[in-house]
């Protein structure tokens, strides 16, 4: 390649600009500070952690689910620490209304409106628990089957996580507010 004329304008570098502003006397407002460039990296956790007594945690979750109008399957004796939730997703009505009143879209397909989530309590160590949330598919309030029979869940290649993420924020808010 021949010599390239591409360059970075030295006076546009923040440190040099600030020095030039100070030396040129153009600075009237001296308490303008640069944005912090070191961003604290987001620390991620699985689910939400709790140090409360396990049964209290489960109780708070059931109360929050009830306040949010969700329903759940009666837990089995041997598995008290898992809650199978079903949640009517309001967004779907909106979509149904947008596309057609009887909650069918143009190609006459059902728009499932019951989002299923599995909430499970895990013990990480003594007095340290983790509440895990897992998406568990959709159901239709009319009971009609949802997943098109010819597609296995492995083959599904376009899945929207937003309804699941939205409902978990609602639940986490409810738990945060209640606690």
């Amino acid at each position: 390649e021949g010599n390239s004329g591409v360059a970075i304008l030295p006076t546009s570098l923040p440190q040099l600009h600030r020095a030039n502003m100070l030396s040129s006397g153009l600075l009237q407002n001296s308490n303008i500070h640069p944005l912090v460039s070191k961003k604290s990296k987001t620390k991620w956790h699985f689910g939400i952690r709790s140090r409360s007594y396990p049964l209290d945690v489960m109780g708070e979750i059931y109360i929050a689910l009830k306040n949010l109008g969700a329903e759940w399957a009666k837990p089995s004796e041997e598995d008290l620490w898992t809650i199978r939730v079903r949640w009517k997703y309001s967004g779907s009505n909106q979509i149904a209304n947008n596309e057609a009143n009887n909650s069918q879209n143009q190609n006459n397909e059902k728009i499932p409106d019951l989002l299923k989530i599995v909430i499970q309590l895990f013990q990480i160590e003594t007095n340290n628990y983790l509440v895990d949330f897992k998406f568990d598919g959709w159901e239709d309030s009319s009971g009609a089957p949802v997943t098109p029979s010819d597609i296995t869940s492995d083959e599904i290649s376009a899945f929207s996580a937003y309804p699941f993420l939205h409902l978990t924020t609602r639940l986490i808010m409810e738990l945060a507010v209640n606690s």
Binding site: W44, H45, D132, S157, F159, A161
Partner: protein, 32 residues
């Protein structure tokens, strides 16, 4: 579900989703 600590009254949740043969970490910020 992945969560991060609540900051500035803002909730941040995420989920890693496969889209065809690629992986998208969908991160949603919502008000507390």
């Amino acid at each position: 579900l992945a969560t991060s600590s609540i900051k500035h009254n803002t909730l941040c949740v995420a989920s890693i989703v496969r889209y065809k043969r690629k992986y998208v970490t969908q991160i949603l910020y919502a008000p507390l």
